[in-house]
Symmetry: C2
Subunit: 345 residues, 2 copies
């Protein structure tokens, strides 16, 4: 993490995006969907994605791709969308008041995979781009949710994302990793959703403060001091960063799949996986801003809720038994850890 940098006083003003910004980003988002789907089909070896194209009455549409009952994937969805309308919902305007009274444009690709084996982690990815009147921004991230976890896997996932970030700005990984830990947090369970990854929002290059929009209660002030200021960034540099992030998904995830897909499991592991999938549902319906944005903007419900697992259990008062792999998940993996620097066992 960087220290307070009092010598940097760059304050940039927001530049206009390139004239072809929407076309460039939406083309990239479609391509990302294509690449991920091809990569996953190759990895699955059996399941094939089925595509549904849809239109949104208020403007725009998308293409949802879903895979069921594959060899690797019990269910997976990769959704591209490009929508526009009269106004952004209140939850976003609160963070971006400059967008009030303006039409908006939003495009993005999002993905959630629910593997069949409890040894293969669930994974989520979402990258998105907004324009609304005088403002534009990028957001997104990727995070990993294991059931029977391996430190080696958490570390591989984080190291891959960190390398990608570091090619663009050494400040990105420490900030966006921490943002992810705080965003994918189930307050009512006092657990992280999984081992995290990257998350960021409202990146428009102007602010010196990377964590704009990241204001966990009571933390903003000290966090601002800790991160300090960084140089202004151009639209192109942010677009390149997002593109590179998208491209790093398969290298971050596929090796984990290959290492764990053949581990044998029984009812105990399957039941625990179904139980833990309940946390995924709780997070997505109670906290997730992508889900809330979709439901608030009259999005396509089936595509928004494609992230929900195919089969889920809830169990009143469940507690893992001490000294079991299930207990280890809670004690070690559902708390923020410095996985990118993990070297040990």
């Amino acid at each position: 993490m960087s220290n307070l940098k009092t010598d940097l006083k760059i304050t940039s003003t927001l530049v206009n995006p390139p004239t072809d910004s929407k076309a460039r980003v939406s083309q990239f988002m479609k391509q990302l969907q294509d690449e991920i789907c091809s990569g996953l089909e190759a990895l699955d070896g059996e399941g094939k994605f089925k595509e549904d194209s849809w239109e949104r009455p208020e403007g725009g549409g998308g293409r949802s791709r879903v895979i069921f009952e594959g060899n690797l994937l019990e269910q997976g969805g990769v959704n591209f969308s490009e929508v526009w309308g009269d106004k952004l919902p209140p939850s976003i305007l609160k963070q971006r008041p400059e967008a009030a009274g303006h039409r908006f444009y939003a495009t993005g690709t999002s993905m959630v995979l629910h593997p069949r084996s409890p040894y293969v982690p669930t994974v989520h990815l979402n990258y998105r781009y907004f324009e609304a009147g005088p403002v534009w921004w990028f957001g997104g991230g990727a995070d990993l949710t294991p059931y029977y976890p391996f430190a080696e896997d958490a570390s591989h996932f984080h190291k891959t994302l960190k390398q990608t970030c570091d090619r663009h700005n050494p400040e990105y990984y420490p900030v966006f990793k921490r943002w992810c830990d705080e965003y994918f947090y189930l307050k009512h369970r006092q657990e992280t959703r999984g081992v995290g990854g990257l998350f960021f929002d409202y990146q428009d290059g102007t602010t010196n403060q990377l964590y704009r929009g990241f204001n966990p209660a009571g933390k903003a002030a000290s966090y601002s001091q800790e991160v300090g200021e960084i140089e202004a960034r151009s639209w192109d540099s942010l677009f390149n960063f997002i593109s590179d992030c998208g491209g790093s998904f398969l290298p971050a995830y596929a090796p984990i799949v290959e290492r764990r897909r053949d581990i044998k499991y029984g009812d105990r592991e399957r039941n625990f996986q179904l139980y833990r999938r309940g946390r995924y549902v709780e997070f997505n319906l109670v906290y997730d801003r992508g889900t809330i944005f979709g439901l608030q903007t009259n999005g396509r419900t089936e595509s928004i809720l494609m992230s929900l697992p195919p089969l889920v259990r809830w169990e009143y008062g469940y507690q893992p038994e001490p000294n079991t792999p299930e207990a280890e998940l809670y004690e070690r993996f559902l708390k923020p850890q410095d996985w990118a620097n993990w070297e040990g066992q």
Copy 2:
């Protein structure tokens, strides 16, 4: 439904509750929990409730009772709680600004039952009482969620609740039935949660407008005219009404269980039940004010989420086939209907 009543101009001011209000209501809420649990154990014939008592660090506590893997009930929870604290959460203060800056007290009993058979409906009940500074109010209701529905059952449930309401005030049933239809509505699915029942909130006897707190977008004005004004009601009359509502639960539900519990079913019906249970999860996590109140006030997560079903499925793009019992659920039962006046087939 009543017509506009322009001749009624009673405007009462809020009276203080009796000095023993909290003790009386909490005793009733505990007794309601006892009665419902005994009645359900007798109905189940096999399962027994297990009790967990718990304390809330900020003040108060409760007793949760849960039944698993019974003959009738796959899972059921009946929860009594009595909590207090420094301030109500913002979602309630928005409706009751007079409570801002005051300590609050809340007590209630809530119940959700998930029967094993897809022919026996899921059912929910919740009655609650609040005091905060200068204001107090009662709220609650009960609603039925069938999977393979019968008009006769929906009608029995509504007629029983209507008789209870009518003993207290002829305006109650039409208003609270409609409020229920609008409250238990999944906007993102454009479906009611089930066949409804009663729902009401913020009942303190002062307002002439029974629907206080019931403000569906664009409807408040016309609804206010339609319902008109009614006479002021005392604390005791509201408490009696709530008590009577609580007592009407078993007579409203038990006959439905008896009629449907022995119907044979297979995988098709079970799969549809698990799929439809997903709607229950979506409603409770996205819309339900009891759940949101609990999570916002640092309530006991296991007790709050006791309402979630033991096993749930999601399926992308599911649509019932035309002319099937599953299609009939959507077409006839997931829309508001005048079940209390149903006489036919």
